[in-house]
């Protein structure tokens, strides 16, 4: 496996100046994962964590028939993977492909094996030995109260940015697309029908209900083609970015206030099944088609002048791809439901480490799908009108001038094939990913005739689970805000007090809605500002998780194994602080928020311009707050580490005492 990994990675490195087959990337990734899992993962499991099969897990000791339940390891694996796999590993690599396939691919593979999988594994292990405690609780207990409070605040801020950025991805995917808007609009009545069906017609039959919902959604995709072709309905469903953004904001508020069983839960079930099915289909499609990578290993945009987002490979490639390499959000899942389901401690290796490797593989597939597109098409779809010009002739001239030839008739033909009016300036990553996936699926069978169907199927798949994140995230954000405000005004902390519920829901919706509108109005397409902010925030959360993990390893073994979590932590701190610093202070207006505000201040003093200046300063302030929060946690952690290493602080490991398992092998 190690030799295979070396050969494939070597093949990728050596074959320059010609197109290589994507199978090299796939094999390099799979062989590296297998080697990392077998040696590094196993080493940590045996030597560092000393996972003990005879030790009863919280699922056994605290078994309650609800969340604490010993479960088959492959079922937990599926559950955990479904929980960690969101739009991040799909969209991030597509955006980072502007540097070429090599930087992103290397980061996805190396980052996952040495960073992301370690974070998920260690946090899962720590939670497992602490009765399934959450990351926030562990931060409070292992580091201190400041760490606990700062991590809660960081998560809340990340939620707000996350919701805004994923909503922007949906807006950009549906903008001017009658077919897409109709299909996604149809998922709402379908979800409500499913909710009512599940509650009143066939209670408890979730799989049956989801199968029915899937058939209806497929029907909606077919109907969407007719809608896009009919005159009056086309006009009704063809919406601009602003009306779509407002519709999503209103939807976010209503969905978070409606009973969960009516809309959120049935669509969540459906989106989970569709997500797993599409990931499987994409893997089969890539293996079947084995597309050649059309984008070069490195593009000219490695110098930081990229049209999709500005900034050099270091640090921006490493924050653009967060999920898929290292994602702080996974620490919340690894210290959430999963530790309450593990029947044996040893299952933490396949579930914690293995699931992250699979997510990394999803990111590799997204990279392949994006890089299999003609480079000219890739940049025409992803580059904002503010950079390449809004007229097709201007856009193709600019992109061809970069050395990526593309023509207006070629783009018009492609748009016609997928049933869209135009594919120019569809920023956000989702449309180009859908295009790449559609090509792979169409080449697996059906050809050009089914390209439109597969494109809209992919858009539906992406939008379906992004919308689920929006309504679930708004609800979660509201709970977090209530938790924080409850310390100041106790009634606001009560989840049953309706005025408090409405006020906090509104506050969360207004917060992410503001950033969404900001992204829509941004002349550079919004992704240039918001995606790096999201990446920074997510990686900072990973830094918090690594602080907790390092503290725990230090208490267990002293400095002996500290490097396992300290090295990825140091890397993340360097990357995120460098990216944050550049996003705030870079003299280039394309990168630095303050330079952008300064440049805008010289332009005409219109209300729109004043708003853009304010937004740029707000983004800079947000970036600074995130840096400050993580610096606080980091310094607090270092204080604890120094105390432990000097012997002035007790090395007390707050694990639950050993209890022998009573579970028999046949019960698992």
């Amino acid at each position: 496996m190690a030799v295979g990994a070396a050969l494939c990675a070597g093949g990728v490195a050596v074959y320059r100046g010609e197109h290589i087959n994507s199978i090299w990337l796939v094999l390099a990734a799979v062989c590296t994962y297998a080697t990392g899992y077998r040696f590094y993962g196993k080493f940590i499991a045996v030597r560092v964590m000393a996972l003990n099969e005879k030790r009863a897990t919280p699922a056994e000791r605290l078994r309650n028939g609800h969340d604490f339940e010993p479960t088959n390891k492959w079922i937990v694996f599926g559950h955990h993977f479904a929980a960690i796999a969101g739009p991040g590993p799909l969209v991030g690599p597509v955006l980072a492909a502007q540097f070429g396939y090599l930087p992103g691919t290397l980061w996805i593979i190396i980052g996952a094996v040495l960073g992301g999988a370690i974070q998920d594994f260690v946090i899962l292990f720590a939670s497992l030995r602490r009765d399934g405690k959450s990351l926030g609780q562990m931060a409070r207990e292992e580091i201190g109260k400041i760490g606990g409070f700062a991590s809660l605040l960081t998560v809340l801020l990340i939620m707000i940015i996350l919701l805004a950025v994923v909503a922007l991805v949906v807006v950009n995917a549906l903008r001017g697309s009658a077919w897409g808007t109709f299909t996604i609009g149809a998922t709402m009545p379908i979800a409500i029908f499913m909710g009512l069906y599940l509650r009143y017609v066939r209670p408890g039959k979730v799989l049956e209900c989801s199968a029915l919902g899937f058939v209806l959604v497929m029907g909606a995709i077919f109907a969407g083609r007719s809608v896009a072709a009919s005159g009056s309905l086309t006009a009704f469903f063809t919406l601009g970015a602003m009306p779509l953004a407002i519709a999503i904001i209103i939807y976010g508020f209503l969905a978070s206030a409606l009973p969960v069983w009516l809309l959120l839960a049935p669509r969540d079930y459906l989106s989970t099944f569709v997500k797993l099915g599409v990931i499987f289909l994409l893997a089969v499609g890539i293996l079947f088609v084995r597309p050649e990578l059309q984008l070069p290993a490195l593009t000219r945009f490695a110098d930081g002048t990229g049209p999709i987002f500005a900034g050099k490979i270091f640090p921006f490639c490493f924050i653009t791809i967060a999920c898929g390499a290292v994602s702080g959000f996974h620490a919340l899942i690894a210290s959430g439901t999963t530790p309450k389901m593990l029947a044996r401690e040893t299952h933490a290796l396949p579930v914690g480490y293995g699931s992250m490797l699979l997510e990394s593989f999803v990111a590799i597939m997204a990279m392949v799908a994006a890089c299999a597109l003609q480079p000219g098409v890739y940049f025409a779809v992803n580059a904002p009108a503010g950079v390449v010009g809004s007229a097709p002739a201007a856009a193709v001239a600019t992109i061809s001038g970069w050395g990526f030839p593309v023509t207006a008739p070629q783009m018009a033909g492609l748009a016609k094939d997928v049933g869209e009016q135009t594919l120019f300036g569809r920023t956000g990553g989702a449309p180009s990913l859908a295009l790449g996936m559609a090509h792979i699926f169409a080449r697996s069978g059906g050809g050009q005739a089914v390209l439109g169907f597969w494109y809209h199927f992919a858009i539906m798949f992406e939008a379906l689970f992004i919308l689920t994140i929006i309504d679930a995230g708004t609800r979660v954000g509201r709970f977090m805000l209530q938790d924080l405000l409850g310390h100041i005004a106790p009634p606001l902390g009560r989840t049953s007090w309706m005025p408090g519920v409405i006020a906090t829901s509104l506050a969360i919706v207004v917060a992410w809605g503001y950033f969404l509108i900001q992204g829509v109005r941004d002349p550079l397409g919004g992704i240039n500002s918001l995606w790096p902010l999201f990446g920074i925030a997510n990686q900072l959360l990973a830094a918090i998780a690594f602080c907790v993990a390092t503290t725990i390893l230090l208490k267990m073994h002293g400095a002996r194994y500290m490097a396992i979590t300290c090295v990825p932590l140091a890397w993340l701190v360097v990357v995120t602080f460098a990216a944050s610093w550049q996003k705030i202070f870079s003299p280039s207006p394309a990168i630095g928020f303050l330079a952008q505000a300064e440049k805008l201040s010289h332009a005409a003093g219109t209300a729109a311009n004043r708003a853009l200046i304010f937004n740029a300063r707000l983004d800079a302030a947000l970036c600074a707050i995130l840096m400050l929060l993580v610096a606080t946690i980091l310094l607090d952690s270092v204080r604890v580490w120094v105390g432990i290493l000097r012997g002035t602080r007790a090395r007390r490991v707050s694990e639950t005492p050993f209890v022998a398992t009573q579970l028999r092998a046949e019960e698992l």
């Binding site: 309650n64 028939g65 609800h66 492959w74 739009p87 939620m159 509650r199 408890g204 797993l276 994140i469």
Partner: protein
Amino acid sequence: MRRVREGMKLLMAILRELGDENAYRRHLAWHNRQHSAEEWRSFSEERLRARYSRAKCC
């Protein structure tokens, strides 16, 4: 053939877990109750309340 059958069985078990059907069965067994529409609704409400108070991954 046996392997395929076992694989399908595992796949269905994963889907049932993701769809909360397994959790519902465990709930009925744990509390020694019979399936009914009312029982499902009360189980579902409690489970969904807990699920949507935790952050969803990106």
